[in-house]
Amino acid sequence: MSTATLFGVYGAVLVGIGLYGMIVQTELLRRIVAFDVLGSGIFLIFGAVARRGAAGGLASDPIPQAMVITGLVVAFAATGVATALLLRLSASAEGVARRPEGPP
């Protein structure tokens, strides 16, 4: 198996681990960590795609690389908004987080 395919498969497994974590984690911060793991897996699949596209002296196709860089930054922003929301939620006196279903 080539490096690209190998990391692509690893990426797929990371997606599975992250997805499972996002579904079953009850602690919200852990859910966010699982989201980041899921994202890492997806970016790795992009990496596999990029590496497979190595041609003309390039070690890797630059277009998917640019997409991953964009995606990484967006994932960071997502983590930022999610943690800020979580912190505000935990600080709010109502502490609705204890009501797992939320309203109504």
Partner: protein, 315 residues
Amino acid sequence: MTPASLLDLGIGAVALALAAFAGAARSSFAAIVGFVALGLLLALAWLRLGAPDVALTEVAIGGGLTGLLLIGAERRLRARAMAEASDPVSTRVRVAAAVLSAGVAAGLAAAVLSLPIPAPTLGPAALRELPRTGLDNPVTAALIAFRAFDTLAEKVVLLLALVGVWSLAPDREWGGRPGQRYPLDADGVLAFLVRLLVPVGVVFGGYILWVSAGAPGGAFQGGAILATMWLAARMAGLTDAPRLCASRVRWALAAGPLVFFAAGLAGPLVAGGFLAWPVGFEKPVIVAIEIPLMLSIAAVLGLLLAGPAQRDGAR
């Protein structure tokens, strides 16, 4: 089995173990440490995949800044001893989730294994058009020329995310300073390190941007380094976060994207289209965009890390 493929196998196996650890660890702190380690390891994977630009971004943003965000949140949550939504998930649900997630992973793996040979690629096309961008690094060219629209939109995404974070401030603290004030430890080791490191870091951030025309690097990576330097200076108590209503803060955030917009809007007049760069002046134009862009990225990343205003509010 070549040494290189053994290395790949090893990196992947440890990455999976770390991901599983991040999922299964008992404390959230351990889970976050697992994730940060995963990010660092994935940077090695990106080098193996021939993508040093992404490796830099992964280290700086994927593992580094995201890890900082998560650790900061964990520390504050622990301080509040928040009663978590602790409806335990039943075993049945866990099994169903595990089976279905495995199914999705298997489907993805099958898709990866079935990708066509020879693989389609835009690499040669990017190389062919590279001279028209005045750059030598095709990844930078993709970000700032071929797919400049996505990059521009993503800058706006970052700003919206920041305004979203800001909007979570308590009303009375609006416009105040984010995060806590760290005491100055004047003779301490941290202040010493930061005084030594910040100039190096700032030079390095600029260097990462400057070389990105021809070598791995870019505005994101440079901006991430600058943001970390700012955080280090705050943690050492050498500087405090500014008030978020200060107009210099607002303009520092907007300047990069606005220069990008302005250059894009000049395109139809001087280069035949929105986001088209004038022939013969591509590189100076791109540099003129990327320098303010990096500063704005540093500001937005640093302020996303800092969070909403929580003291010294206007009211």
